[in-house]
Subunit: 303 residues, 2 copies
């Protein structure tokens, strides 16, 4: 099943010519989820040919403008495109009021229902389960209440070995049970272990989004064994003090987080515009956690 | 003196891959004025290397989101860049409340003073005079109160003919008077006409911005003899009914406006995203008013 990430914006608060404001599309089985919605997100979605009306869920990490100022135009455009079905927006408290205020004060209406879900910025929570995914939020530490997000594949029924169906003449209701882990009890009373009847399941894949945040080791507990970690690396370790003063992380700290949670791949972004090149930031993280990539806008990653 | 226009965004409400949301920079003698501020304007400014802090005046035509949703991020970025000097924002009533509401609800502060100027959407007014320019607003007709803007060069002192200074031994205080139109009175009592002492003045240049609007002939009175007219041409004449229902103009109507005011050059923009190409719209206007150009994002025009 397709499970991939598209980087729409990888700048920090100040966009640059090459880096748009924070936004990502995580898509699973051709269903896109929008994570953060910085100014210009709708332009990036068009550029990458993402259908606006396929998006039913938006996850906003926190209410700093660089992470959500694109939502006004995005909602307006979805309305103009004729959207009628509901949209779900997950964010810390306050976004509903802001959106309503902007639309009311311009006497504009959003012609589809929005269901606002207020994130718990104090403890981890399951915020959405779909057919294929479980999505969790978990608190991070910044100058504003902020959550990260985890997207985990849900346990799926196993694939049964076809030959076994014939061999033991297994009926349909029995097949469903076996796919979900049951043993097979033969008429003779003999039991066949589930593992003999089904193919081993592929490992469940997972992705986590962590920005904006200071490094606080205990915050990463809910991320144990996540496959792909996107973590902000706003600063280099030489600017550690600035990072801490502004509620951000250094590349070293992002790498420590990847080690802490036993990630397979670390994606770095949210680079400060003060650096002309980010090579030294990426190298800094790589020297601690080898499998590190600094993202660029437009990059795709298979989870 | 440099007097030029840069198109930052030429889409209508729905941006496309090639056309950003409405915004323009009109610059005179290296001083930029921002006209409209659709989402993504700050990204376009960066792309075209326009210094944010050189901009002291923003003119918002009306409060439809596609014309001002870029202002939140633009103000935020100017704050982060350390701006302290005042910013002037001209718009129809309501923008101050919207901006304050967004910044208050996110507990953010704009660290520089903003002076809001409410446009008169009922009659033309001089809204700003600088050393070199007079800037006027005038009402247009749309589904929201809306103003167009005129930027006119102010009358400048003439250049005196150097040889005449020697010939008549003209003193400094006399020179200033002559540059401003005075005759020269010689000791003999003889008078020398001003036109014999100075070079002819170059014609004063002017630019007008008209969007969004229906075609209403009387609204163009204040634009008589404007050099360059930017006019919306959201629709082709075949979609005239839609144009009128939505408070917009067709290319034919934009051309009629250019004739009405005796413009030298007509620039068309704000094209509806329903058209894959705008060639037919531009040709439609050209068949009525020959000196017509359909603008593209990134185009520069000398006024």
């Amino acid at each position: 099943m397709e499970f991939k990430l598209l980087i729409l914006g990888s700048s920090s608060a100040l966009p640059t010519v090459k880096r748009n404001l924070p936004a990502q599309i995580l898509s699973y089985n051709n269903k896109p989820f929008l994570i953060d919605c910085g100014e210009g997100t709708q332009l990036q979605l068009r550029k990458h040919n993402i259908s606006f009306n396929k998006i039913d869920h938006i996850f906003i990490s926190h209410l700093h403008g660089d992470h959500f100022y694109g939502i006004f135009g995005f909602l307006g455009t979805m309305g103009l495109l004729g959207r009628k079905k509901p949209l779900h927006i997950f964010s810390p408290y306050g976004l509903e009021e802001i959106i309503n205020s902007v639309f009311e004060k311009t006497n504009s209406e959003i012609p589809f229902p929005i269901k606002y879900h207020i994130l718990n910025t104090k403890q981890p929570e399951i915020i959405l389960t779909t057919k294929w995914l479980e999505i969790n939020s978990f608190p991070l530490k910044h100058s504003k209440p902020v959550c990260g997000f985890i997207f985990k594949e849900k346990e799926k029924p196993a694939n049964i070995i076809k030959e076994k169906i014939e061999e033991y003449n297994i009926g349909i209701s029995e097949i469903v049970k076996i796919k979900n882990g049951a043993k097979l009890k033969l008429a003779s009373g003999k039991e066949i272990e589930n593992s003999e009847l089904v193919y081993p399941k592929p490992k469940l894949r997972s992705y986590a989004y962590c920005t904006d945040t200071k490094f606080v080791a205990k915050n990463y507990k809910p991320l144990k064994d996540i496959d792909v970690l996107y973590h902000e690396a706003t600063f280099a370790e030489t600017d550690k003090q600035t990072a801490h003063n502004t509620g951000h992380s250094t590349a070293t700290e992002a790498a420590k987080a990847a080690i802490e949670i036993n990630a397979k791949l670390l994606l770095l972004g949210h680079f400060s515009s003060r650096y002309k090149s980010n090579t030294h930031i990426i190298e800094e993280a790589k020297s601690i956690f080898k499998n590190t990539i600094g993202v660029e806008d437009g990059d795709y990653f298979e989870i």
